[in-house]
């Protein structure tokens, strides 16, 4: 596969009222990328994902998603939000929730193929046995896996994860990491996280976001500590490709 650019953000600025959330953010994501974005609470991580998805319109700058505007291009993006607020008693089962991810357009019903893909997605996240379970009758970790299945059911070329491992027990976390290494063969991944574990074991590139997408001394220090903790070589920041920090893993 050619490593084409799939997401391009140019000089993005977002304000909520008077409060700047994102300023001058430039980002380019290519088809083979696996990028982690770390940053403090309120640093604009979720907002950045929502800009890519077209859920938040930037006040400044240009967004291209697969060469189109986000509203069109996002059909190729899978999205796992940090929180999904829904009514725990909502009359729907796991399978129908996953099927929703395969939505095509108005007046087109889910086909047999869509249902087959939904079953496969449930198998991938090891939740097939719960397919008929009402959605509110699941634990937090199980729910997260169902929403992951919902995100991959349209076979996206890019998947966006927003804090995917918060509130999940360690066993579930490691199976999530295994899933990630599965996914990265098939699609680009962008992951917003606090979880250094996932960054060290899987991620190829890292960026820091605190209103601006940037690096400063303190973060370098943090990354040096990462280096000693995880014995992961660090390539220091080169201008021009500001989010290349950790060395690319050797391709097998």
């Amino acid at each position: 596969m050619i490593n084409e650019e799939i997401i391009s953000l140019k000089n993005i600025g977002v304000r909520f009222g008077d409060i700047p959330v994102l300023e001058g953010v430039n980002l380019s994501i290519k088809q083979n990328d696996f990028l982690a974005i770390i940053g403090p609470n309120g640093g604009g991580k979720t907002t950045l994902l929502k800009v890519i998805l077209g859920l938040v319109k930037p006040d400044e700058g240009e967004v291209r998603v697969f060469g189109e505007n986000p509203e069109k291009g996002r059909r190729l993006i899978g999205y796992l939000p940090q929180h999904t607020s829904f009514d725990l008693n909502f009359p729907i089962n796991v399978f129908d929730v996953v099927l929703m991810g395969g939505y095509k357009r108005l007046l087109k019903n889910y086909s047999k193929k869509d249902k087959k893909i939904a079953v496969d997605a449930l198998k991938t996240v090891e939740m097939l046995e719960f397919r008929d379970r009402q959605i509110g009758r699941l634990s937090g970790g199980q729910l997260q896996r169902v929403f992951l299945a919902r995100a991959i059911v349209k076979e996206p070329r890019l998947i966006l994860f927003d804090e995917p491992t918060t509130g999940i027990d360690p066993k579930m976390q490691s199976s999530f990491y295994n899933l990630l290494s599965e996914f990265k063969k098939r699609m680009a991944i962008v992951l917003v996280t606090h979880d250094i574990g996932v960054v060290s074991t899987q991620v190829e590139e890292i960026a820091c976001l605190n209103r601006r997408l940037f690096y400063h001394g303190a973060v370098e220090e943090g990354l040096k500590r990462l280096e000693t903790t995880y014995e992961c070589p660090i390539e220091l920041i080169a201008h021009g490709i500001p989010h290349r920090v950790l060395e690319r893993h050797e391709k097998k």
């Binding site: 998805l53 859920l55 996002r74 059909r75 993006i77 999205y79 939000p81 999904t84 829904f86 009514d87 008693n89 909502f90 009359p91 729907i92 089962n93 129908d96 929730v97 929703m100 991810g101 395969g102 939505y103 095509k104 357009r105 108005l106 007046l107 019903n109 889910y110 009402q134 919902r150 349209k154």
Partner: protein, 268 residues
């Protein structure tokens, strides 16, 4: 009991009960699971403005209530999604303005408004045949719309943000949904009146959802719950000579409390 069916008004009343229950079973299921009970309350009260307009223009108030309730549905939908005004504020304003307009229109219309009370509190025993046909037509529109947009409306009710991401036109679907509520309100006005509409729209679905986690079954169950309870209310109001709309609402309310109580006793 059977002999009362020989009266035309009684047959019409039963038809009205069935037609109203169909609308409120289907739309009420969405109203309850999407938690827009108070939006529906706002739309139904705003519809009173349309009733008043009917009096003023000297035409059937049900006909003027249709555009009026649809306009107020759009009003609430558009204002609340713009985000500058809170949704519940928008509801409160339209609720009051609609009622005030209705009263003003009726005051301006010549003569006395004899059956005004029936639009406020319902009068299932005096539903004319023309209104029954209107109710049937609106039921057909509601059923067709929900049949065509079932997966969009369901996804929207479950998770609006994700629906938008997968490409569902959430804004137009939401407005369509509020229009469905507006149409059901019109269907229900004749049975229980604008003030009590909210009971018929929510209680059958609220009772039924305690017994199923399947949306289609919830709709069907709500329809039958609605039919049974409205007919019981109708019969009680006839037998005891009570106000029909209020009796129906009280039967619905009692059934709701009883079902919640017994559901609480049942092992889960």
């Amino acid at each position: 009991m059977m002999e009362i069916l020989q009266y035309e008004f009684m047959r019409n009343a039963l038809m009205a009960a069935v037609l109203a229950s169909v609308a409120c079973g289907i739309v009420g299921a969405y109203v309850v699971i999407k938690r827009i009970v108070f939006i529906s309350g706002g739309i139904s009260h705003a519809a009173f403005g349309g009733i008043g307009l009917g009096y003023l223009l000297g035409i059937n108030p049900i006909l003027t209530a249709i555009p009026f309730s649809i306009l107020s549905a759009f009003g609430i939908g558009v204002i609340s999604k713009q985000g500058r005004v809170n949704e519940d504020t928008a509801i409160g304003v339209l609720w009051a303005v609609g009622m005030a307009l209705g009263i003003l229109f009726i005051g301006l219309s010549p003569g006395y408004a004899p059956d005004l009370f029936s639009y406020l509190f319902g009068s299932i025993l005096t539903v004319p045949s023309f209104d029954l046909w209107m109710m049937l037509l609106l039921d057909v529109v509601i059923i067709l719309t929900v049949f065509l947009f079932y997966k969009e409306l369901t996804a929207l009710s479950f998770d609006e943000e994700f629906s938008e991401v997968v490409g569902i036109p959430t804004r137009s679907m939401y407005l369509l949904f509020l229009c469905l509520v507006a149409l059901s309100v019109v269907v229900l006005i004749r049975v229980v009146g604008v003030i009590l509409v909210i009971a018929l729209l929510t209680i059958p679905a609220a009772i039924s959802r305690q017994f199923t986690y399947n949306l289609r079954r919830l709709m069907i169950l709500s329809i039958f719950t609605g039919i049974i309870l409205t007919v019981v209310g109708l019969w009680l109001s006839y037998a005891l000579n009570l106000a029909s709309g209020a009796t129906i609402v009280l039967v619905l309310g009692s059934a709701f409390f009883m079902s919640s109580f017994f559901k609480g006793l049942m092992p889960t």
